[in-house]
């Protein structure tokens, strides 16, 4: 579930990544993190690794 507390931003991000589910999940997660006080680098790196693994899974037909 998106943590973004601004519907406009959330809707626009979803529209811009309509055909890219992996990028959408990544951006919703990292932008959502800006609404918390969690140190960004850990979250961003984790989400990036997750996204690349998913992309590799898509390429390998998983």
């Amino acid at each position: 579930m998106s943590e973004i507390k601004n519907k406009t931003i959330e809707d626009k991000l979803k529209a811009a990544t309509m055909n890219d589910a992996v990028m959408q999940d990544f951006l919703l997660a990292v932008v959502g993190n800006e609404y918390k006080t969690i140190q960004y680098s850990r979250v961003y790196n984790n989400e990036l690794d997750k996204a690349l693994k998913m992309l590799e899974g898509e390429v390998n037909g998983v």
Binding site: M23, V30, L48, L52, L55
Partner: protein, 664 residues
């Protein structure tokens, strides 16, 4: 966030005062009435002091205040004296605000102790926030943690848009660099753009981190990365400078247009001003022609430079060749290799007969003579090229033409500038400058500044293109190096993914800003149109890239903010503030001090109606003087429409609430 209660203890003229702001009607509108000096502004100061630890509405605390003077300690004098006579060491001062929103209840409290001997604060502020979330236990946040809570709901940097001070319009409408960036940042904060902006910055930081790792894996990449980063930084700096110069030029043009409107409004200066402006247009056109003429001169010099440099040498070479030709000193064509071959074989290559010794000697002498003259043969070969290089027939004529053209244009510019100096003297003499706006007096300065900015911008644009090309070449080189290095595969994929993410975030941010700007313009104009009494005067509001307000005349389409009265400016600033609240969906109260100080009686009823409508969706607390809270206002903002009314009175260094009952 709306405020339900404010309790003030020993803060300035408030000894012990408790305000209730219940929402008892459909309009969350609350009136506070107080004469000058009784404490309206200090009520706003107490709210700021509680939440942010300072008092921005004191004189001298604002960048536009002309003076900073000594001021009394925040401690109420009567309370201070009492504490001193009771032998206490310190007098406590606190302000407590109870707020509420969808998440629950909040209690904000700031306390300080004033030393009764030194009259200064003893120790640090004690600040706490108690949060009572719906269906959850109370949370206590103190010090910096408490400040973070405040910043989450009522950020300090945008507080001018929650606590509107009608006497500090310069905070909203002035174009100093600090005000401009504050307004833009405030809009971004309220609209949530800052969140997505931060996310974009963090993505860029992450990418830079990966670039460093990539560079560490490969020394070549390291070198290219550094060069690329430097090139990108230069491009970014130049782009910012060009944006700044563009906005400065636009601003100057708007201000010049304003000044023209004022001058044209005076009959005895109108013609002179029209001619003056016409001359300026022609001068600008001539300046462009001058640039073209100078560019042609540069091309001319490039074309002839080498020829002129080598003219003397080429001429003496040609003379030498022609002299030798005249002396028949030029050798005929000889097949040197055939002769050498024959001499080696000691027989003629053509007929096969052996060559006698004496003939061989003659042939060898002939060859030596011939080869010593070979340089002349070479020169013969390039004689026609040398002749062409000496052809500078058109040079003098073209040079004369180009310099004459430049002189002509410069003379025309000088003549027009002299005429304009004379016209300006007429305008100054006949224009009756007494009482005219500062913008008019500075019209010349604005024009000079605009000219310099245009020239600077032109130079920056030329170099920017070259820098962009350089950066792009480096980027291509970087990508090539990256692709070639297999060690970088994983990092390369991360980089590519981040590039896409950054591009999407930038695109979304731009969309949001454009949408906000368009909505803000429409909403500000809509509210301003309802508030203003001159219904046929103002046609359009525009916000520039920094969200600065520009107002345009309905009929002429000209910019006219500078010619607005103080009252009109106040209503415009207020319209902008309300529009910002509406467009951003930011759920916070609006506290307005001295809302109609500059608005005359007849127009106040309209003002009251519009604000009442706004208060159906948001809490509005308005602090009026008795003269402001006139019959026109009372006819609209009255019981049972408003939710609460408080009247403040002052006596013996203390402000108290008198009643809380409505006296309208």
């Amino acid at each position: 966030m709306r405020f339900s209660e404010i309790t003030i203890h020993n803060f300035r003229q408030y000894r012990d005062v408790h305000f209730d702001f219940p929402k008892t009607t459909s309009c969350d509108m609350h009136i506070i009435e107080a004469s000058n000096g009784v404490g309206k502004t200090n009520l706003m100061n107490s709210v700021n002091w509680c939440l942010y630890g300072d008092e921005p509405h004191l004189s001298g605390n604002n960048e536009f205040d002309a003076h900073t003077g000594d001021r009394l300690s925040i401690c109420n004098l009567a309370a201070f004296q009492e504490a001193k006579s009771n032998g206490e060491s310190a007098c406590p001062v606190f302000v407590e605000i109870k707020g509420e929103n969808d998440e629950g209840l909040f209690v904000f409290k700031r306390t300080v102790y004033i030393n009764v001997q030194t009259y200064t604060q003893a120790g640090a502020d004690e600040f706490e926030v108690r949060k009572f979330p719906v269906n959850s236990d109370m949370e206590l946040h103190t010090g910096k943690d408490g400040e973070l809570i405040v910043d989450q709901y009522m950020p300090k940097k945008i507080r001018e848009y929650f606590y509107f001070d009608g006497e500090r319009l310069l905070n909203y409408l002035t174009n100093t660099e600090s005000t401009v960036s504050k307004i833009r940042d405030s809009v971004y904060e309220i609209a949530g753009v800052n969140f997505i902006n931060r996310s974009g910055e963090h993505l860029v930081e992450l990418k830079k981190g990966f670039q460093k790792k990539l560079s560490a894996l490969s020394p070549d990449l390291n070198k290219i990365t550094k060069a690329l980063n430097d090139a990108d930084a230069e491009v970014a700096t130049d782009e910012l400078t060009i944006d700044y110069l563009t906005s400065q030029i636009k601003e100057a043009e708007a201000a010049i247009a304003e000044a023209n409107e004022i001058i044209n409004g005076r009959e005895n200066t109108r013609d002179a001003n029209e001619q003056y402006n016409n001359n300026r247009r022609i001068i600008e056109h001539h300046k462009k022609s001058l640039e073209d003429a100078k560019a042609n001169l540069v091309e001319f010099v490039k074309r002839y430079f080498l020829r002129l440099m080598l003219y003397r040498y080429n001429k003496s070479t040609l003379d030498y060749i022609e002299e030798r030709e005249a002396q028949n000193a030029i050798n005929p064509e000889v097949n040197v290799s055939a002769i050498k071959d024959s001499l080696d074989r000691h027989e003629c290559r053509l007929c096969g007969q052996s060559i006698p010794h004496d003939i061989e000697d003659e042939l060898r002498k002939l060859l030596v003579r011939y080869e010593s003259n070979v340089s002349l043969q070479t020169l013969i070969g390039i004689k026609s090229d040398i002749k062409r290089s000496l052809d500078i027939k058109g040079y003098e004529e073209e040079k004369e033409k180009l310099f004459n053209r430049i002189r002509e244009i410069e003379d025309e510019i000088t003549a027009l500038q002299d005429k304009n100096d004379e016209l300006w003297r007429i305008i100054e003499r006949d224009g009756d400058l007494v009482g005219l706006d500062i913008a008019f007096r500075s019209k010349k300065e604005l024009e000079d500044r605009k000219d310099k900015d245009i020239e600077k911008k032109g130079k920056y644009k030329v170099t920017l293109e070259e820098k962009r090309k350089k950066a792009q070449n480096l980027r291509d080189e970087y990508n090539r190096a990256l692709n070639e290095d297999k060690k970088c595969d994983e990092l390369r994929k991360k980089n590519a993914f981040l590039d896409r993410a950054i591009s999407i975030v930038e695109g979304v941010k731009k969309e949001i800003i454009d949408d906000i700007k368009a909505q803000m313009q429409d909403e500000t104009m809509s509210i301003f149109d309802e508030l203003i009494w001159k219904k046929d005067t103002y046609g359009r509001v525009e916000l520039d890239d920094n969200f600065r307000l520009h107002l345009f005349h309905k009929r002429t389409g000209q910019s006219c903010l500078y010619t607005c009265s103080a009252a009109e400016k106040e209503l415009l600033a207020l319209s902008f503030t309300i529009a910002l609240h509406n467009v951003s969906g930011y759920d916070n109260l609006l506290f307005i001090d001295t809302p109609v100080g500059r608005v005359s009686d007849v127009n106040r009823e309209n003002f009251a109606k519009v604000l009442l409508e706004v208060s159906q969706g948001k809490q509005i607390i308005m602090a009026f003087t008795p003269s402001e809270y006139s019959d026109e206002i009372k006819s609209v903002l009255c019981k049972p429409v408003i939710s609460s009314y408080n009247r403040l009175t002052y006596g013996e260094d203390v402000t108290t609430i008198n009643g809380g009952t409505y006296n309208g």
